[in-house]
């Protein structure tokens, strides 16, 4: 009797420890938290021309405070735009309908997140509404491409007058 008691005690504490470890892994090492019993939320959509490398699960913030997360990114083949589903915490339910959503980068090369800037309307976003004012992600490659294009154009402009110059001087003669 005594022996089976210590045995059961050992098994019980081992199983408890094991499940505690699995619980720790699912809730403490991931951003998932206890989303099953998570806070109430509502979903809004925003359409962007380009989302860059925005990922599902990226934070949505207002004035730097996290108010929700990106839950889905899809492509609208009629408008050729990216459709982003945002899940916002019910606690922040006074976001004006004319607020604008932009995609920002955390740090210089960090992950992307969505920043909301409040508008001035009297009506507020609710479940299913759409954010109309959006600004696409800042894509570094496009910027580099633009800089390079400008640079080569400038070079070509500098060379062109130089080649044209002798003729011009001849004409004046």
């Amino acid at each position: 009797m005594r022996k089976s008691r210590t045995l059961n005690l050992g098994t019980g504490s081992f199983v408890l420890l094991g499940f505690a470890a699995l619980f720790f892994l699912t809730t403490q090492t991931t951003s998932h938290g206890l989303a099953v019993f998570g806070p109430a939320h509502y979903q809004v959509i925003a359409k962007f021309d380009n989302v860059g490398d925005l990922k599902v699960g990226a934070p949505v913030s207002m004035s730097g405070v996290e108010v929700g997360r990106v839950t889905k990114i899809d492509f609208d083949s009629n408008e050729y735009k990216a459709v982003v589903l945002l899940r916002l915490n019910e606690r922040f339910n006074k976001i004006p309908t004319d607020s604008d959503a932009s995609i920002y980068t955390q740090g210089l090369l960090g992950g992307k997140f969505i920043g909301l800037t409040a508008g001035g309307a009297d009506t507020y976003l609710k479940d299913g509404s759409q954010i109309d004012f959006t600004q696409s992600a800042f894509v570094l490659e496009n910027l580099i491409g633009q800089v390079l294009a400008n640079f080569t154009k400038q070079k070509a402009d500098e060379q062109a007058p130089a080649r044209a110059d002798p003729k011009a001087t001849e004409k004046t003669k």
Binding site: T11, V15, G18, A21, L25, T30, S31, G57
Partner: protein
């Protein structure tokens, strides 16, 4: 020459077939054994609780090495803060399940195989059959289920201890910021990473326990046979674990 090759090929196929057949026999007997849970609980103690010390110690040192190596590597790119993410993803997805399964095969698998092999060698299994007690139900299935239940729990404990080992080296000794260690980890590790680890450890648990009880149950009833069964258990388990690891990783990509 070709005849020999063909023979060894058919032998291997036959072995695989009899393992699968044995697995179905075990699963078929599972519902009846579940009613006598005390038998299983005793085996969870034997395979799980008794492996706890070696799992926890190995987890701590694996985590500490990850912390040290990860810090050295990430420092070159000036992103030491990603240490938490790197160590956690490495532990939860790969090292936790695989190293735990290898240790489990060495600690619990060999114990199962030699125990069952000795029972076979000393005719205890035949004696049970004489008393109309089904040795599969009374002896083999509880050991198999005990291993299957214990393995994911052990892998979870291994990963958690490992994360704290990495934290110990990274944050306490090397001076990575504790806040960014945990917050970067939380934003980068997703639930599917953890699920992958749990699925892996469960599959490894089934594979290790099955190989161990199969080798023990069908061991040649001699001293040499029991020894060979134990060796085969460890070797086969190690290869099968790494093979399954590749398959599951590919499936989750």
């Amino acid at each position: 020459m070709i005849g020999e090759l063909w023979e060894s090929f058919t032998d291997a196929l036959e072995g695989l077939g009899s393992v699968v057949h044995f697995l179905f026999r075990l699963v078929g007997n599972t519902p009846r054994v579940l009613l006598r849970f005390s038998l299983i609980s005793q085996q969870i103690f034997n395979s799980g609780a008794l492996s706890l010390i070696i799992i926890m110690l190995s987890g701590l040192f694996v985590g500490m090495v990850l912390g040290l190596q990860g810090f050295q590597l990430l420092q070159r790119f000036g992103s030491e803060e990603a240490l938490g993410t790197a160590a956690t993803i490495g532990l939860v997805k790969e090292l936790g399940p695989v190293v735990t399964a290898l240790l489990f095969a060495g600690r619990a698998g060999t114990a199962l195989a030699s125990e069952l092999g000795l029972m076979r060698a000393t005719d205890q299994l035949s004696a049970m059959e004489m008393m109309a007690v089904d040795p599969i139900q009374r002896v083999v299935v509880p050991r198999f289920l005990g291993g299957v239940i214990a393995m994911p729990l052990l892998a979870g404990i291994f990963s958690v201890i490992g994360i704290y080992g990495a934290q110990l080296v990274g944050v306490q000794i090397m001076g990575v910021d504790s806040g960014s260690f945990w917050s970067q980890m939380r934003s980068a590790v997703s639930l599917s990473d953890v699920t992958e680890g749990i699925v892996k450890s469960f599959v490894f648990g089934v594979a290790c326990s099955l190989i161990a009880v199969y080798q023990g149950y069908y061991a040649t009833p001699t001293a040499e046979g029991v020894g060979r069964a134990t060796t085969t258990t460890v070797v086969t388990s190690a290869v099968v674990i790494l093979f399954l690891d590749y398959l599951i990783t590919a499936a989750f990509l």
